[in-house]
């Protein structure tokens, strides 16, 4: 299925670049795909036709030149990702889309009502406390939202930045949703000591641990969530001489 769209950034947006494909966990009626398209500054919404083919049903517009890379959709009932439980009634309000904008290092927030209603932009904020002027060579990469549990009852969003000129390496930004799902606040930046943090994943009991990799230096590190999830503390590492160029992770069960 071809995607053919262009965006503002002449270096990175001369064509569509679908960077992720996930199911929308908020759609209880049918399977819906969310596809962030870094080249088109849109997150596409697709469902299946009666002949079984995926088709575009709508989209979420992002800021021009933002380059959406990865998204998280979250509703009031806080289902785990990929859950399609059909016993819950569809909720028209309180559904939020969080989008990581790679090219501008921002977190965009939209209200995401069920199809065919249009999404509403709510806010966007930098994933860096001190962003440097664009073009800066930096690019945000991953966005994670571990669902709250007994050990970590508060909700945080974690995003990774890449190509930080700081000699201490790239940072992971931590946003709190204490003020509301539509009002993330940057509460912490963790300097990882890794270069080009493309991939990271939570795992272990209560999603206590975060494994992070530096594609261009530093190898792999495991951090433990501390301070209720507001902080990360490095607890283990493996150098780039052992695991070169890590780009993604899967906690294996």
């Amino acid at each position: 299925m071809p995607f053919e769209h262009v965006g503002l950034n002449k270096a990175r947006q001369t064509s569509s670049h679908p960077h992720q494909v996930i199911f929308n966990p908020l759609n209880y009626k049918e399977d819906e795909l969310l596809v962030p398209d870094l080249g088109a500054d849109k997150v596409w919404r697709l469902t299946k036709r009666s002949d079984g083919k995926w088709t575009m049903r709508g989209h979420v517009d992002m800021e021009a030149g933002g380059g959406p890379r990865h998204v998280i959709a979250r509703g009031m009932l806080h289902h785990p990702p990929l859950s399609r439980v059909r016993t819950y009634s569809s909720l028209a309000s309180g559904n939020t889309l969080y989008t990581l904008l790679e090219l501008t290092s921002k977190l965009a927030v939209h209200a995401l009502p069920p199809l065919p209603a249009s999404p509403t932009p709510l806010t966007s904020l930098f994933t860096l406390s001190a962003p440097i002027p664009i073009p800066d060579g930096m690019s945000a990469a991953e966005i994670l939202l571990p669902e709250p549990n007994e050990s970590f009852p508060e909700t945080f969003i974690y995003t990774s930045n890449r190509n930080d000129p700081n000699p201490g390496g790239d940072t992971i930004a931590i946003f709190s949703l204490a003020a509301g799902d539509d009002k993330p606040e940057l509460v912490n930046e963790v300097r990882t000591g890794l270069t080009h943090v493309r991939g990271m994943e939570f795992g272990g009991d209560d999603n206590r641990y975060l494994v992070v990799g530096g594609v261009e230096g530093g190898g792999v590190k495991v951090f433990e969530r501390v301070d209720g999830g507001k902080g990360l503390e490095e607890v283990a590492k493996l150098g780039a001489d052992v695991v070169a160029s890590p780009t993604g992770f899967l906690w294996y069960c």
Binding site: M1, F3, S16, F23, G203, V235, V243, L250
Partner: protein, 119 residues
């Protein structure tokens, strides 16, 4: 007390790495070790598991002639390296993301601009 955990690592080498993370070993400090390296092809940059068989892992080779590789791993108590069990074209260039359902593999080929679903 948490038992050791297994982490698979996608990379820009030719391999997927199997790591063991022990949060509380006898030494007292959490430890991260390399267990195995599974050679699969050029730049296997993303990993997903099958929804009903988590020992079946899929990766995409991020290269101009994109390819999907299926790898079978052992049980979580004794997993080391994996065995490649299937390969298929991704239908585009530089596949960088995958979604796996019971009967469908949906692939994002980041250049040029294709999302292909194949059965």
């Amino acid at each position: 007390m948490m038992a050791p955990l297994t982490i698979l690592v996608a990379s820009y080498t030719d391999s997927i790495y199997t790591l063991s993370f022990d949060p509380a070993p006898p030494t007292g400090y959490p430890a991260l070790k390399l267990i195995a390296r599974t050679i699969v092809g050029h730049h296997p940059s993303w990993l997903v598991s099958h929804p009903s068989d988590t020992s079946l892992i899929f990766t995409a080779l991020e290269q101009p002639d994109g390819e999907i590789v299926a790898i079978k791993y052992g049980s979580s108590e004794s997993v080391t390296g994996g065995e490649v069990v299937a390969r298929a074209k991704s239908g585009g260039r530089d596949p960088c993301t995958l979604l796996v359902t019971e009967d469908e593999l949906i692939i994002g080929n980041v250049s040029p601009h294709d999302v292909d679903s194949s059965f």
